[in-house]
């Protein structure tokens, strides 16, 4: 897993609630068997005026010029600001892969869909929950000040502005995985004896679960 320790970056906002995984990466791009290359098609239907096709270059496609990601002032943004229920819908990990490939390292929103939240952590993207008031305040700052940046300090669980520090919460397991960039499978396989002991006990309790599918 890619680690996340500290990050300072340009902020861009998409002021919508319920941004779903189909919006983040439309279905036609899910045919890829790779984890990379989705960035050019991130928010494809919101970003381009024509219909995107997998494997085709995006450089000459007509842009929706007022979509935030297309505005020159937000070029190079690495922190995404959004509204409630960000990432709702499908479990496709292609959504965080696309955000990562585009260059986003963190997303700030009042709430996230459960599966999407987990998928972000697994890809070294930090989803941060703040209440609506703080999020709306960030939105107005981003709007007012060109080049608005935030600094994220995961160890101290803080988002820093020049004048303020906003504390956020994160579960300790995810925090450790992100800070250390741990391979979760390695971590679980360290408990191989515990799993095997459980499995033997489980096999006695529910024997029909085992061996049926051949």
């Amino acid at each position: 897993m890619k680690s996340f320790i500290n990050h300072t970056g340009l902020v861009v906002g998409i002021n919508r609630s319920n941004i779903d995984t189909d919006m983040i990466i439309p279905k036609q791009f899910l045919k890829s068997i790779k984890r990379t290359g989705f960035g050019a098609n991130l928010f494809d239907e919101l970003r381009y005026r024509d219909e995107g096709k997998p494997g085709e270059p995006c450089d000459d496609r007509p842009l929706v010029t007022d979509f935030p990601l297309n505005q020159p002032r937000y070029k190079g943004a690495t922190i995404l600001l959004a509204q409630e229920n960000f990432g709702c819908g499908s479990s496709r990990e292609h959504a965080p892969w696309a955000l990562d490939d585009f260059g986003f390292r963190a997303i700030l929103a009042p709430s996230f869909a459960d599966i999407f939240y987990i998928n972000c952590i697994k890809n070294g993207i930090l989803p941060i929950v703040f209440n609506k008031k703080i999020i709306n305040n960030f939105f107005s700052e981003v709007h007012k000040k060109e080049g608005y940046e935030l600094t994220i300090d995961l160890d101290n669980q803080s988002v820093l502005t020049p004048s303020n520090a906003f504390k956020f919460s994160i579960d300790q397991f995810s925090k450790r995985c992100l800070l250390d960039g741990l391979d979760e499978i390695d971590l679980t396989l360290k408990e191989i004896d515990t799993i095997k002991a459980y499995e033997n006990k489980h096999m006695k309790k529910v024997p029909w679960v085992f061996g049926a599918i051949k």
Binding site: M23, K31, Q83, C88, S90, E93, F173, I195, F210, A212
Partner: protein, 479 residues
């Protein structure tokens, strides 16, 4: 203080599958069934190979292609090597290759048993009551309909489950949604779940495992319970479940991978304990009255934008919350609708009857009942009827349902996810309205610029015949 030992169904399934509670708050739970399909598995298999790992056990995994494959009979008969779209062909072949390579049981594209993961799993008895079931698909909650702890996972977790048979997760909170009384004529499980989503919203269940309870669920078939649990994710909940009863146990008797003989008796005995204790405590409770639920139709771009069939499309000016007002405006503009119009005035260009929500045999029967002896309106461009699995298809054909659909001017297709997510050739054109039995009406979900209206199979069939959204109860039959 006396400790409350009353447990919910979710608490019980969690405890049975808890391998280890870690000190950092995360838990390791054991996974009994892992269902794989072509879209979310290739990167996980590749990860295993790169790290030189093997699946922990093979007998917990089952695979089938469903998301991406054609539903056109001629294309299907031509086989995997003839899939016209190269990217799709590679993805389906990659699943076949990975299953061969690692030794995972796969039901291939044209094999009996193939189908949409959440239709074929229960149908084969591959997922059984009391199991933990995961799949790289958010509609995995479907399997909760028969007392499973089931939810969708991402591809990193697919790899983790393959390698360790465990999932690192956190316990959810408990929510109970009780629907009391009886449903009216023409009101189906799909209407029940859409009404629930309309009430609690698309994020109402975030962080919760939902148990659906009450007389309406006791009266509901297992297929109907699957329809409801399937859409728990559309209410924000990864997990939806219904307690086991005699209907559940009867449903699994004699299925391909179900236990037999003495083991069956032991299993059935255990399954019958899978219900919440009488005084179990839920963190959140929601109640609806079955009598109040009318046939439902979505008008907007989120499943919570739903109305009873006698409803009127909302007007942004009437919404006091500015964020919601903006959402309504955006949705009306995308959907090409005006606030204040009756929902029954929405014309329909396409109809899709299928998806993991509504492609089981009773869905096919409900749609056929309305289609029988009628013709699709000439303003409707296409009606796709896509059975959820090879077994549903065979059963429907043995009952002559395919003939009813064809006689009405509908297309009878091969099993797959089809126009629910439009990964294959089945998709809407920009601006086209579709009456759809699927689960998501997101922007572009059924094709770029396409406009989806979610409803029940009988409502979809009625819309096909009328050429616009219509109250199925006007047809005077109980679907």
């Amino acid at each position: 203080m006396i400790k409350n030992i009353q447990k919910t169904l979710y608490d019980k399934l969690w405890e049975v599958h808890l391998v280890k509670q870690r000190t950092d708050g995360s838990s390791l739970i054991y996974i009994d069934r892992h269902i794989l399909h072509e879209v979310t598995s290739p990167q996980a298999f590749e990860g295993l190979r790169i790290a030189n790992r093997k699946p922990w056990r093979l007998d917990m995994n089952i695979a089938t292609p469903d998301h991406n494959i054609s539903t056109d009979t001629k294309e299907r008969e031509a086989g995997v090597d003839a899939i016209p779209d190269e990217v799709s062909r590679i993805q389906v072949k990659t699943l076949d290759y990975n299953c061969d390579y690692f030794g995972i049981r796969e039901f291939r594209m044209n094999e009996m048993g193939q189908g949409i993961v959440h239709v074929m799993g229960p149908e084969l008895g591959a997922s059984l009551p009391g199991m933990t079931v995961v799949c790289g698909d958010s509609h995995t909650a479907t399997h909760g309909a028969f007392g499973c702890l089931a939810h969708g996972i991402g591809t990193s977790e697919v790899e983790h489950v393959l390698a360790t048979q465990c999932l690192v997760t956190k316990k959810m909170k408990n929510m109970r949604v009780t629907v009391t009384g009886k449903l009216g004529l023409g009101v189906t499980p799909k209407d029940v779940v859409l009404a629930i989503i309309g009430k609690i919203g698309t994020a109402g269940g975030t962080g919760y495992a939902i148990e659906f309870a009450g007389q309406v669920f006791l009266d509901m078939s297992i297929e109907g319970r699957m329809t409801v649990c399937n859409m728990a994710i559309e209410a924000g909940a990864r997990i939806g479940m219904v307690a086991v009863d005699t209907k559940t146990i009867d449903y699994f008797k004699g299925r391909k991978f179900s236990p037999t003989g003495d083991t069956w008796d032991i299993a059935a005995n255990y399954w019958s304990t899978l219900k919440s204790d009488e005084n179990a405590c839920f963190d959140s409770e929601v109640e609806l009255s079955g009598q109040d639920i009318l046939p439902q139709v979505t008008w907007g771009t989120s499943p919570e934008m739903v109305l009873p069939v006698n409803g009127f499309i909302p007007t942004p000016e009437d919404e006091p919350d500015p964020q919601k007002r903006q959402s309504i405006k955006q949705a009306l503009s995308y959907m090409g609708l005006k606030g204040g119009m009756p929902i029954t005035e929405i014309p329909v260009d396409f109809v899709f009857i299928g998806s993991c929500t509504n492609s089981r045999i009773e869905d096919m029967r409900a749609a056929a009942l309305i289609a029988k002896g009628n013709k699709v309106a000439n303003t409707v461009k296409q009606v796709l009827v896509v059975p959820g699995s090879q077994m549903v298809k065979a059963q429907a054909e043995s009952e002559g349902l395919d003939k009813i659909f064809k006689d009405a001017g509908m297309d009878w297709r091969e099993p797959g996810c089809s126009m629910c997510l439009a990964m294959n050739a089945d998709k809407l054109g920009s601006g086209q309205h579709c009456a759809s039995t699927s689960n998501r009406n997101f922007e572009g979900r059924q094709g770029t610029g396409g406009r989806t209206h979610l409803l029940s199979p009988s409502m979809a069939a009625a819309a096909a015949i009328a050429g616009h959204i219509i109250d199925v109860r006007k047809y005077g039959v109980q679907p």
